[in-house]
């Protein structure tokens, strides 16, 4: 190993960066494309509409995921509520 190699190896190798980026991307796209039922985007949109009637959350605050085990399916619903309690839009009575 000469001096140049030494300096090269101390920097982050581009192949390593490529691998990390791909692993994240591929995992994400597989979840999105492969195992999700087709109704999921609609379900997500309608749930969001219902929740928004009561709490003001934005689009990115809700995620819907379907996970499959060998013998069961888990529908995971994750809603991030805003930090400050918001005034109810409608007065109840």
């Amino acid at each position: 190993m000469n001096l140049m190699d030494y300096f090269r190896s101390s920097r982050s190798k581009s192949a390593t960066i490529a691998k990390e980026r791909l692993q994240i991307l591929v995992a994400h796209e597989r979840r999105a494309a492969r195992h999700q039922p087709e109704y999921l985007p609609d379900l997500q949109r309608e749930l969001l509409a219902v929740i928004r009637k009561y709490v003001h959350v934005d689009q990115s605050a809700i995620t819907v995921n379907m996970e499959q085990d060998e013998n069961r399916e888990v529908l995971e619903l994750n809603i991030v509520l805003p930090d400050e309690p918001q005034p109810r839009r409608r007065n109840s009575r």
Binding site: S14, A18, K19, R34
Partner: protein
């Protein structure tokens, strides 16, 4: 009954046609009656790579439209008697292929051949879909490069859900990884994804690694599938791929950097 192999990738320019030509020639040379079909309607190129571009009279679309019969469109290879080529149409619209038409042609070819190789166009449009729909095996051609790996993964998702085998709940398509344009030197320098990296990401059975090689351009320049260049690294790598596909256990070559002897180091060598 023929076995139907699709050569696919999603991304363009990674070596699908080179691979289709090499696989077809390799299988035929081993005595299997083989036909290779160009599914890239409008952008036919398999004829050039196979060196039979001046012998194209009728094409795949003529057969689909029942304007001619299959034997009128099939081109018999002059180098190997077991090999036939069915060229794509050059001018017709891209909707010329129909699911029923493709199925009919494949069924007819299946009666007289051992292997049918479908050279898929790039992308995920109609031609690519039809090329893989009836497949038994898929060779996913991938370059060690981010966009190619991503597209291959996407293609795997489509193979698993939109093929005849998937739709009929049959045994899934057998998927193989073929890594092409591989440069062990650059992998060693950390500049290129390694075979292990790509395999880890795609989790596929590795059919082979084809090194980046001058032989591939030389082969396409002259219209001879690179597998015929028996002295070249790429040619030998493709021969191994054919053997492995047929179930032989062949160790992977051209994966490690070639050790140059003293002589080679002094006088340089191949790039």
């Amino acid at each position: 009954m023929a076995r139907i192999i699709v050569v696919t990738s999603g991304k363009g320019g990674v070596g699908k046609t080179t691979t289709s030509a090499a696989m077809a020639m390799g299988l035929a040379q081993r005595g299997h009656r083989t036909v290779v079909i160009d599914f890239d309607i409008g952008l036919r190129n398999l004829d050039l790579i196979m060196g039979c571009e001046r012998r194209v009279v009728y094409d795949f679309v003529n057969v689909i439209n029942e304007e001619v019969n299959l034997n009128q469109a099939l081109i018999k290879d002059k180098r190997c008697e077991n090999l036939f080529i069915l060229p794509a149409s050059q001018t017709r619209d891209k909707d010329a292929l129909t699911l029923e038409g493709v199925e009919r042609v494949l069924n007819e070819l299946s009666e007289t051949h051992d292997y049918i190789i479908c050279d898929s166009p790039a992308g995920i449009e109609r031609g690519a879909h039809l090329a893989m729909y009836f497949a038994d095996d898929a060779i996913v051609v991938t370059n060690p490069e981010v966009s190619s790996v991503r597209d291959s993964d996407r293609m795997l998702g489509i193979l698993a859900s939109k093929s005849r085998r998937a739709e009929n709940n049959q045994e899934p398509i057998r998927e193989y990884l073929l890594l092409t344009r591989y440069s062990p030197q650059r992998v060693k320098l950390g500049e290129m994804l390694s075979v292990d990296d790509v395999q880890e990401i795609l989790s596929l059975h590795l059919l082979g690694v084809i090194p980046e090689s001058k032989a591939v351009l030389n082969a396409s320049n002259s219209g001879n599938p690179v597998v015929l260049d028996e002295k070249s690294d790429a040619g030998q790598a493709y021969m191994d791929v054919v053997a492995r596909y047929l179930g032989e256990e062949v160790p992977h070559r051209f994966v490690e950097e070639e050790k140059k002897g003293l002589f080679g180091r002094w006088f340089g060598g191949k790039s």
